[in-house]
């Protein structure tokens, strides 16, 4: 019970700080809008070309905004000298990880929902039929991104050149998630049912389980590092 309360307290604190400061949210929304404008401008209205690249474009937008959001996971602790406070909190540190992960997931999903809506408008796509399947793929893909991203954010929080190191560490590990999400999104946007991309969904679930398990088991060591 105390474990869940501690995790919830961390998530609540992160979301409350973000709701009041809006530092990350404003930057992410602006950045995502900018990306969509650039993509729309460069890709034009050629439907055949669009169909081939849109899944990649969508996930490129998600990943780039995730890199910004996840890289700031422990910024609030560093800025307010609270890092040592987290370290000295008695009890299982994985509760802190889960709280941070929940905060990151909430923030990323809000931005992704907005980007997905704008994506449909900008590229004139009817998401109606694909939406339920897309929601599943986006949820699983975002969980995979956030699970490792939260761990690596803790790992790089106190090193120099963390802005460079963070994506260099994160992106190679995300290859299975990116592959599965882009392929599944491509099929869903072409009108195939979720069952037709079951193998990609299974890969996403497996990656999420592995990433979460490894992160939960190693977060204590990473934080104490």
């Amino acid at each position: 019970m105390s474990y869940a309360r501690r995790a919830l307290a961390v998530a609540w604190k992160d979301l409350a700080v973000e709701r009041r400061s809006k530092e990350t949210l404003n930057a992410l929304v602006f950045f995502s809008l900018l990306l969509l404008f650039v993509f729309q401008f460069t890709l034009g209205g050629d439907r055949e070309r669009l169909a081939a690249v849109l899944p990649g474009v969508l996930w490129l937008g998600f990943v780039l905004s995730a890199l910004l959001a996840l890289g700031r996971t422990f910024l609030v602790e560093r800025e307010h000298d609270c890092w040592e406070g987290l370290l000295l909190a008695p009890g299982d540190k994985s509760a802190i990880y889960l709280g941070k992960l929940a905060g990151n997931l909430a923030l990323m999903l809000v931005v992704e929902a907005l980007v997905l809506g704008l994506f449909a408008v900008f590229f004139d796509i009817d998401l109606g039929r694909a939406l339920p399947g897309l929601v599943v793929v986006v949820l699983l893909g975002t969980l995979g991104l956030a699970a490792v991203g939260t761990l690596f954010a803790a790992m790089t929080a106190n090193v120099r050149a963390r802005e460079l190191l963070f994506p260099v560490l994160l992106l190679p590990v995300q290859v299975p998630v990116l592959l599965a999400t882009v392929k599944a999104t491509e099929a869903l946007l072409l009108g195939e049912p979720l069952a037709a991309v079951g193998h990609w969904v299974k890969l996403l679930v497996a990656a999420d389980v592995v990433y979460l398990a490894v992160s939960l088991l190693t977060f204590d060591v990473v934080l104490e590092g």
Binding site: A9, K13, A16, H80, E84, G85, L88, G91
Partner: protein
């Protein structure tokens, strides 16, 4: 005062790279006792504090709190500790009340609204309880930091320059709070650069120089000038 030391540091050495910062430090503090740790910049005061706070591991030697080794049983030590560090450990975009509730929950304390309110009243912040910390002065943040610690009722309190940046009124107030914590049985280790009235809280003075405790004496009736002379005699701080 309990005669059994609650904090026991035995022959602790700490080396960073090839540079020894602490080289055989030994120190004991009893429950209800306050020790002021003096020393020049770079003498290793904060390093010793961090070892006791389980944030650093000693290269050699042992440090225990209530019998728990800080390196081998950090979780048991952390449950007994309160730390007032350089930074106040408060989030600017939360209110004072929210900050206390957050740290209490994270520390596994079942602090209710009444306890949080009482802790804020105890540090004179009851009227600012629902204001965002962003609007607080440095002194108010220091008070909030102390409220956070008081809420946990620690048996050992580690303070890194607790009087730094406080005006005279706030210093007097902090002295009172620290005396109250001592009276409640907490052991205090306080790093300070001051020889003035701030040392009034201390029962003993320890001077760290050359990586060791060069002087460990009862404060007794020593005045600021006496302390300054003793300090100069045991350090190379150029006084």
């Amino acid at each position: 005062m309990n005669l059994e030391p609650i904090v026991r540091v035995v022959d602790v050495r700490k080396v960073f790279g090839l540079v020894p910062v602490l080289d055989g430090v030994s120190l004991e503090i009893r429950a209800g006792e306050a020790v002021a740790l003096l020393g020049a910049n770079g003498a290793g005061k904060t390093t010793l504090l961090k070892i006791l706070a389980t944030l650093l591991r000693p290269t050699r030697g042992t440090a225990t709190i209530a019998g728990h080794d800080v390196a081998r049983a950090p979780e048991a030590v952390r449950a007994l500790l309160g730390v007032v560090a350089h930074g106040a450990w408060v989030y600017d975009d939360l209110t004072a009340r929210e900050n206390l509730k957050f740290w209490a929950t994270l520390g596994g304390l079942a602090a209710g609204a009444d306890e949080v309110t009482a802790a804020l009243a105890g540090v004179g912040l009851e009227r600012a309880a629902d204001a965002r910390v962003r609007t607080f002065s440095a002194g108010m943040k220091r008070r909030l930091s102390l409220a956070r610690v008081m809420l946990a009722r620690p048996r050992v309190l580690l303070l890194d320059e607790p009087f730094a940046g406080l005006d005279q009124r706030a210093k007097k107030w902090l002295e009172g709070r620290l005396e109250a914590l001592k009276a409640a049985g907490a052991a205090l280790l306080m790093v300070t650069h001051s020889f003035g009235r701030e040392l009034g809280v201390a029962d003993r003075l320890a001077v760290l120089a050359g990586g060791r405790i060069a002087l460990d004496t009862a404060r007794g009736s020593l005045g600021p000038d006496d302390i300054q002379r003793l300090y100069a005699a045991h350090t190379e701080d150029g006084l």
